[in-house]
């Protein structure tokens, strides 16, 4: 998909209005709204804060050094851990969903895939707010579990790391469901039948057929769950109750409360490097960038 066939519009004269119309917007857009902002925070990350929201033009690596401070490293580690667990839970939910969905008639399948999209159309902050009613101490989940006699004291489902984890899974699950269902839907039925004929059980079919053939879709979903999950500060704010900080909160605070932009910029650069490594890994297993983000 990525290698484009030879351009089939003639490359015209030097001043070609047609060509300019089709190429200038993307050049301006990518330069002004992507390259420039990222280069600028890269530059900022080497400056020194004057603690009033301004900077002192003095090249230093202190901001990167601060990252290795135990508090920041701890928050970084915890965010990555929460994001990883959220990704794993989304994978565990999505695979059976996708495999069961395969066997449904096509019309029903399309309808269900549309339903998966609907929560997207309600703002994620409002959905997170809806979760409070479910998760709080006297919320629906605790009331139900108490009434059923499963627990004798209400569980602490929010204002802690567990709450943040539940919030991430809830908000980001559709991003995993869509690529995994698409990938599982494309697996050739003949392969599955052949495996069964040769005596493979369900578990073996999953390990030997589904998993290798759908790993790109799964990695696509993992990327789409993992990267937002380390930045969604509002979920940590609302469901973590200020006690459960993630990297997103840390960066937000540097920019809006502590007014130490260079430190916030350095933390962002570390995330960028981290993300690029993940994308390289995705390309390495044969993933297509055009398929990221549900297109």
């Amino acid at each position: 998909m990525n290698q484009s066939p030879a351009p089939n519009y003639p490359q015209g004269r030097k001043f070609d209005v047609f060509k300019i119309l089709f190429t200038a917007p993307v050049v301006i857009y990518a330069t002004a709204l992507i390259a420039l902002p990222l280069l600028y925070i890269f530059f900022l990350s080497f400056l020194k804060s004057d603690n009033y929201g301004g900077y002192i033009f003095e090249f230093n690596l202190e901001n990167y050094g601060a990252f290795f401070d135990s508090t920041y490293l701890g928050i970084f580690g915890k965010s990555v851990l929460i994001a990883l667990i959220a990704t794993a839970i989304c994978l565990l939910i999505s695979y059976p969903f996708a495999i069961f969905l395969r066997d449904l008639p096509e019309r029903r399948r399309n309808f269900i895939m549309k339903l998966v999209m609907v929560p997207f159309l309600t703002n994620s902050l409002i959905r997170t707010y809806g979760l409070i009613t479910l998760l709080r101490k006297h919320g629906l989940v605790n009331s139900a579990l108490l009434a059923l006699g499963v627990i004798s004291d209400p569980l602490n489902l929010m204002y802690n790391n567990l709450g943040v984890l539940i919030g991430m899974v809830y908000t980001l699950l559709p991003f995993m469901l869509l690529p995994v269902c698409t990938a599982v839907g494309k697996v050739d039925q003949n392969l599955l039948d052949a495996a069964s004929d040769l005596g493979a059980n369900k578990f073996q079919r999953f390990l030997k057929i589904y998993l290798p053939l759908t790993r790109q879709g799964a990695f696509n979903g993992a990327l789409m769950v993992f990267t937002p999950a380390i930045g969604y500060f509002f979920i940590a704010d609302i469901l973590g109750g200020g006690k459960a900080m993630i990297i997103g909160n840390l960066i937000k605070n540097q920019f809006l409360t502590a007014r130490n932009w260079p430190l916030g910029a350095a933390l962002s650069i570390i995330i960028i490097i981290f993300t690029f490594l993940l994308v390289r890994l995705y390309r390495k297993i044969g993933g297509n960038l055009d398929e990221l983000g549900g297109s």
Binding site: Y29, I34, Y232, S268
Partner: protein
């Protein structure tokens, strides 16, 4: 035989349970929009009051208006830029193209917070006043790549010879684009537009950084009120928006399948 029949039922049960859980927070929001009490905790008695009070809350209505306006404007602009870009990147070679080709994926893979603070930094650098305009710019910046990839998918699936045939028959490049390419890539443009619109409506993080103190959008309104408690008029508004989007989706699906059926006849 009995076992064979029971397994599919378990599968249905699993699929519908996941869907139910996914929708549960939304169902609860809808449920409490009919609750008389101001607290989203105990259902006291049924009322439509919040649907009336909603129209007296000028802050909330203002936030809603801004959210919709930004979504419509950023989607329209992104669709134009994205469609031109997808075609341009496929048909032309120019200096720095391979770099541009990589840059456009950055907003898709990067955590939104990084894009948000980078844009905020540049807005501060260029002395752009934070407000409606900067939120709009920010939304365009994360929407365009999704339109490009969506249009690109249909563009690469096009049969090459259709365009060449038009050229052979004497069509100019403008005519080829307008009468051949554009109608053929329309499904990609539409799905790109829907994606851009949904992303704009759903965004919290980037708006949070790009909006100044004066601009109010729906997520920012909710965010600033969440600690003191949100009154159920927000639930009522969410319910109404959900109803409209479902009607819109159903209608567009209906017309799409109708158009497909007519084409096949």
């Amino acid at each position: 035989m009995r076992r064979l029949k029971r397994v599919p039922k378990m599968r249905h049960f699993y699929i519908y349970s996941v869907l139910f859980l996914l929708f549960l927070p939304i169902f609860i929001l809808i449920f409490f929009s009919f609750n008389e009490s101001k607290l989203n905790a105990v259902f006291t008695s049924f009322t439509f009051d919040w649907y009336v009070k909603l129209f007296e809350n000028s802050d909330l209505l203002d936030a809603f208006k801004n959210t919709i306006l930004i979504a419509v404007l950023s989607t329209s602009i992104s669709v134009v830029i994205g469609t031109l870009s997808a075609v341009g990147l496929k048909k032309f070679t120019f200096k720095g193209k391979s770099l541009i080709d990589k840059l456009i994926y950055i907003p898709i893979v990067l955590p939104e917070i990084v894009l948000g603070i980078s844009l905020l930094s540049v807005f501060a650098l260029t002395n752009l006043e934070l407000g409606f305009g900067t939120v709009l710019l920010a939304h365009i910046s994360f929407s365009v790549p999704f339109v490009i990839t969506s249009v690109r998918a249909t563009l690469f699936a096009l049969p090459q010879n259709v365009e060449s045939a038009a050229v052979d028959l004497g069509a100019s490049r403008w005519q080829v684009f307008w009468h051949v390419t554009l109608p053929l890539i329309r499904p990609g443009i539409i799905s790109g537009a829907l994606l851009a619109f949904a992303l704009s409506m759903d965004d919290v993080v980037i708006s949070y950084f790009a909006a100044g103190p004066g601009t109010n959008t729906l997520p920012l309104y909710v965010y600033s009120n969440i600690k003191t408690g949100i009154s159920p008029d927000v639930n009522a508004l969410t319910t109404l928006m959900l109803i409209f989007t479902i009607i819109f989706l159903a209608l567009s699906a209906h017309f799409q399948s109708k158009a497909r059926a007519e084409r096949e006849l």
